[in-house]
Amino acid sequence: MILQTILVLILLANLRKQTRKNAEGLMWERRVIAAIIVSSGLLVLHTTVSDAEVAATIASYGLSILIFYLVFTQQIFAPAKSIALAFLPLVAIKGVEDLLEIFHRPTFKSWYVYLESAALFALIWMIAMLILSSRQRKALERERIKAEERERELQITEKLKQQLEKQVQERTAEITRQKEELQKALHELKETQSQLIHSEKMASLGELTAGIAHEIQNPLNFVNNFSEINGELLDEMREAIEKGDYEEVKQLASDIADNQQKINMHGKRADSIVKGMLQHSRTSTGQKEPTDINALCDECLRLSFHGLRAKDKSFNAAFETKFDPQLPKIDVIPQEIGRVILNLCNNAFFSTNEKKKTAEGDFKPVVSIETMARDNGVVIIIKDNGSGIPQSILDKIFQPFFTTKPTGQGTGLGLSMSYDIITKGHNGTLQVESKENSGATFTIFLPNQNA
């Protein structure tokens, strides 16, 4: 019975371990502890009180049967099954041996040898089973550890994945926000650009209007004066007729006719200035029409000169024109070419004025404009003897927003727009030559589309 009780106690110790692992094991742990106490108590009783030996043995086996039964039926003890299975034969054989000894000694004596050999086999079985189960347990343990590691790795991966997803979301939000900001900025830039183009047009128109006031006043004065004179001359003519002085009448008639011609001429001059202004302010229709480049150049040069004079009283410069009388009319968009010439003239006058401020002695500012007919088109040369353009910036002057003027005085779009108008709009060329301090020459070539 001692061996059996020890085995049962080992089993119980193992069971207790199982109950601890399990969350619901508290109730079973108490029961297992109770069983350990009872079992130990029975063992003590068995060895110390000789009268209770039989009862203790029977009770101990009864308890063993119950324990084995529970081990094989309760889910919670499933891991201990292999130990129980290892112990079972030995416990069973010892039980049969002990019970036979108590209740039927003759049989016990005759079976003793067999029972002892069976016990030996059961012992071998137990050892084998324990080794096997230990191996299995170890393998299982390794598996479990691996599974735990995998689980941990999986958790880490999951955590990383979540972090990544969060980062991706944040970055996506950031990128979306940046994209929206960029789109907004682009939209604002486009708006600003169109405003700048508009203000560039308005600025050159503003320069025009001042010149126009002066340019219109002169012809109108002539119209008024000559028509008044003609009124007087007509009175005199009537008197001469009454006197019968027909020589005088003839002379007066001739004067009146001359004056009439002048009135007509100056009227037309004013007319063309107003038309030029309207043309300049009007949004370009993009329609090319046969244009007298000489007249356009003359008009723009004068408007530019008078415009600058009106703005700056101290400004003055001489201007020269050398127009080719054989120049054919060519198809261009007059308001656009007008803008280019006006812009180049403004720059030329501005440059001579700059030089005059610093030049010593008798510097004479001169701006000239020359036209020449070519086989396949028309050449316009606008030349000044002003401050010139330094070599270092010569290749930048046609870039948008490049300006040497102080902030607020130039949009930096004049030359770039001029360049676009000539090259893109009219398939021509715009070239510049300059030496610092000795002026600049801009040469426009406009091809004759009909030639």
Partner: protein, 127 residues
């Protein structure tokens, strides 16, 4: 009395000759014309300052009327310098003041009122 008119508009000559045709016919006035400041100076040099009155526009390309005025008043030899009457644009205070400080004798505003001009010239002549 010889009057030099300086203006870059060439039709000014026809205008003056017609406006003052009676006076010219009666030899009250004699007119000479220059179409730039430079021409005016050349004329004065050539004709030994025989013009007693110079009537000049301010707004001209090349040498402006103010430069011409300055040259006449400072470099005229022998003194006294001739009378200079400047034509200023309407409301142009700045040019008016500059011309006055440079020694302009009188002013006319554009558009020129020939009735006033005639009166002014006649008073000058009688003085």
């Amino acid at each position: 009395m010889k009057i030099l008119v300086v203006d870059d508009e060439t039709d000014v000559q026809a205008l003056f000759e017609q406006r003052f045709r009676k006076e010219i016919r009666n030899h009250e006035f004699e007119f000479a014309f220059a179409f730039s400041g430079e021409q005016a100076l050349a004329y004065l040099k050539e004709h030994n300052q025989e013009a007693v009155l110079i009537l000049s526009d301010i707004n001209m390309p090349g040498m402006s009327g103010l430069e011409l005025l300055d040259q006449i008043k400072r470099k005229s030899a022998p003194p006294p310098p001739p009378l200079v009457m400047m034509i200023t644009a309407y409301g142009d205070e700045e040019n008016y003041n500059t011309a006055k400080s440079l020694g302009a004798d009188d002013f006319l505003t554009k558009p020129v009122d020939f009735v006033t001009l005639k009166e002014k010239l006649k008073t000058l002549m009688h003085d």
